[in-house]
Amino acid sequence: MRGLEFFRNVSIGQYMDTGSALHRFTPSTKYIWLLALAAPATVAAHLEAVLLPWLATLALGLAAGIRPGFLLRGMKPAVPLLGIVAVFQFIFGWPGDRSALLFALGPLSLTAREGSAILMAVARTLSLMTIISLFTSLTTEGEIAHGIEDFFSPLARLGFPAHALALSVATAFRFIPIIAGELESIVKAQAARGADFGSGRGGPLKRTRAYLPLFVPVTIRALERAEALAEAMEARCYAGADGRSRYVVYEKRSGEIVVRLVAVLFCAATFALDVLI
């Protein structure tokens, strides 16, 4: 079994405090840019429309004082993985594939369609990885949670539970170190009794059952803590978003609306490019 020590201080992402102007934008603006960049990178059908958000992200990263190398470091472990994906395409054919043959080796062949699938997979991965990397470098966990409420606030007027959603996410962030601590003590307790997670022999279902003494207590403890927290909040008359003030209020800076409009325009332009090519 690998390490018993789970980090007490868990962090998702990789916040980089360079104190740039981009860091000081409100979380909503960061969310809008995240969507404007990620949407074309996710669904656009042409290579150019997938790579344009990537270039924009690298430029934004430079403006925020974050080196392209830092944003791209996730790519290094991904290269062999992309290689495996390419081999998959090479070995297995697509039914009804009549595109031009690029390369053949015995019964195996690489057609133009498979080649473009590999190329698009690489481009999409590169693009999305860089975008997510930049977002998590610019946004703290607190901003991620509170930003959800601000971002969905226009929908909240239509009855969308923006505040409840933000509270869920904030609770999840708060619970991570607690759950990690619980997990650690339960793993240690079960290991002391001779439990062996993961490396045990037997069929997969037997191995799943081996996880029961770990998964069930961790989940039950989490539910108990949630129950206690809910009771405590109700006892203190917590009643949702109405009339509730916030400890941190994100002030919109002048010109921020322009920055948001540019994001929307960028997204529209990229999709227009994708359609027109």
Partner: protein
């Protein structure tokens, strides 16, 4: 049984979301199986949220799980499939539906046969995850249909059984606790 409230739903979603974040971050919930493919039960917290607190909680926990796996795939990829989990349509959307489907299946039993209903919710939720993720991978030309079919037969059916076992264990254990004391047991710790 304590009266259900929105505060409870919100907080329980957060707590189960945290469980799934921890499972993803520490890479627990992977059972190595042949050919490098692993069986996962990381989506089970979303199923449990759907069964215990309804479709909204299931969708929220599923989304938290999906976004965590998306960020993890983008910042520290570990398997070939992680390359495609950087795509939110593959990593987030199917996971949001896991909890919703689990809730719908659980509701079909109308509160009877707790063991059977929670196990079937677990199986249905796991199958939703497997079918949608594999289907979208084929749709995005990530893997050829033949590979998706093989993975479904070799992995997903076992994964569904594993999901059923874990959901059954957690839901029956939790409902048992709930019925006995009617509230959280954490309060007893000080005694």
């Amino acid at each position: 049984m304590a009266q259900k409230s929105t505060v409870r739903t919100v907080v329980v979603s957060g707590a189960l979301g945290a469980v799934s974040i921890v499972l993803v971050l520490f890479n627990i919930g992977f059972i190595p199986w042949f050919a490098g493919a692993s069986i996962t039960f990381m989506h089970v917290p979303a199923i449990i949220a759907g069964v215990l607190e309804g479709p909204a909680a299931g969708a929220v926990v599923g989304a938290i799980f999906g976004i965590t796996s998306l960020v993890k795939a983008a910042t520290m990829p570990q398997g070939p499939i992680d390359v495609f989990f950087t795509n939110p349509l593959i990593s987030v959307l199917p996971r949001m539906l896991v909890g919703i489907v689990a809730w719908a299946v659980f509701r079909l039993f109308r509160g009877r046969l707790l063991a059977a209903s929670s196990a079937s919710a677990g199986v249905a939720g796991s199958l939703t995850n497997a079918i949608l993720v594999l289907g979208l991978l084929v749709l995005f030309k990530a893997i050829p249909p033949a590979v998706a079919g093989t993975v479904f037969v070799s992995n997903s059916l076992i994964e569904a059984a594993a999901g059923g076992i874990l959901s059954l264990a957690v839901v029956t254990a939790w409902k048992g606790i709930e019925n006995r004391s009617g509230r959280a047991r954490l309060a007893d710790e000080d005694k």
